[in-house]
Assembly symmetry: C2
Amino acid sequence: MSKKLILLEHGSGGRASRSLIEELVLPAFSNPYLLPLGDGAILDPMSGRIAISTDSFVVDPIFFPGGDIGSLAVNGTVNDVAMCGATPTFLSAGLILEEGLPVDDLKKILSSMNKAAKRAGVLIVSGDTKVVPKGKADKIFINTTGIGIVPSGVDMGHHAICQGDAILLSGFMGDHGLAVMMLREGFEIASPLKSDTAPLHKLVQDCMAACRVHSLRDPTRGGGVGGALWEIARACGLGMVIQETSLPIRPQVESACDLFGLDPLFVANEGCFLAFVAKEDAKAAIRALKRNPLGRNAAIIGRVTQGNPGQVLMETRAGGTRVVTLPAGEFLPRIC
Amino acid sequence: MSKKLILLEHGSGGRASRSLIEELVLPAFSNPYLLPLGDGAILDPMSGRIAISTDSFVVDPIFFPGGDIGSLAVNGTVNDVAMCGATPTFLSAGLILEEGLPVDDLKKILSSMNKAAKRAGVLIVSGDTKVVPKGKADKIFINTTGIGIVPSGVDMGHHAICQGDAILLSGFMGDHGLAVMMLREGFEIASPLKSDTAPLHKLVQDCMAACRVHSLRDPTRGGGVGGALWEIARACGLGMVIQETSLPIRPQVESACDLFGLDPLFVANEGCFLAFVAKEDAKAAIRALKRNPLGRNAAIIGRVTQGNPGQVLMETRAGGTRVVTLPAGEFLPRIC
């Protein structure tokens, strides 16, 4: 089907739809749950609490250094499930295609979803494909919804955060947002910044095995690390203090942020998470994170305080203190 | 927020996003699972096999007689889960909004989703909202993913269909497709056709309580009743014969189909299902269906045969027999 384009009839449910599903989608995701192509998939019995999370991906451009909309859609939802302390098991995938999308692009994206799902150990068990006329969508949008099992005894959430908790960040800050931004603005450099998109549930498990994790959050769209902390402080009513000098950031990301006038604190990430852990466990947690390649650059970035309730303060490099607040206006649009 | 429009910043994750979620989305769906606004929702323990189904809705126009994209998105996924023999329990909802969508339209759609969810007895527990620039989507697209529990002992699917089974249709054929089509083509008539969009899981349960159901399918997009039968015959390798005179259809739908040159057999439905039941149970099944207002027009439309394996034949009104085959080309685009 190379050099072919997606046509409206590929989404109509007729013969063309059928052949698209049978020739492209099924071979990409083939598994016994998806194969009967019924209205839904029936999974094996599960026991325990189920975590569920949904996300639609509209990133522009759809291919970028370090990933594409397909791997992002799989990892993004795997990570949202992982942030509940759950082990992600199954995903659904809903595709909305724009008429005229090259079939080869769709193939690449499906293959990338398949690879990401294999890497994360999840199965894509239910799917749906719609096609809308040219100009009524932008190439491809993907919704993924994921479910996973929460191990018994795990009760994480913003309600569990305690005064004194250490705030950890599991990796470098800003890579995803900057990689997409550089590409979008047409910057070509010798060693381009790469998106950090990656499945984080095993890193989460390493961390949970090493210490008492009170709450987790992946600082994606919605304000990156700064926005996530602002929201959590507001939700749990406790104060937070972070140190600018402790924030793990690549020098290239810092320079690129300067170039674009962006504050890296508010740039989206797709391969790191914030963890709130008991103060006395913080060092053990960092050691556990650093043993996993995805957590190599983990750092303690701050603490939960009794003062400044509901507010996040940052001790700056210059020796001052500023309030971290959710910016008005838009951040980077269509970053995921 | 009336007379206001959706802006890019409503999807960015910043202050405007936050206020959209807090002022519009949360009040519409408020429930204890959604309220913590974490990365995902944690559900109560479930035991048993879980059915999961996903669907993206891109219907045009977004408001139509009998429903709108919101009620359609809820009912559509509730029904896909019900077709697995499962009781739908939880839904996720992923919204993709086009910049410039009137906030009042979004309010109406959210309220309609909420009503549909209440009617179906499901909770919307995880959500996501993205905004793309004007011209990069068409008003609003909604993905819903649903999960439900399959009662123990239930094993339905195309593999369970037997030679001799009666083929039942639970309601009138073609209402949804024609209602959307008439509106799109600008036909205004005194008593317009209405979409049949409705949650069918209780009707399914009535049917399952009355007889041995071997397989279910809702004949939506993908060729309506004719397309669904074609696909199932192909999947199970058995033959089917249906009678044109037994097909339940409103006279107005029949006339409208004549007008547009459409075959009602291939028009999408959103409020009826096909059931394959043991021959000797067919009458009991029809009685059970007719006791529920949504099944009032249920009919036995044909049977599964030993002859013509993998093929669907229709005994026509004129006394002949024709092969029912999936049409090439597109049906009605963006019907759901």
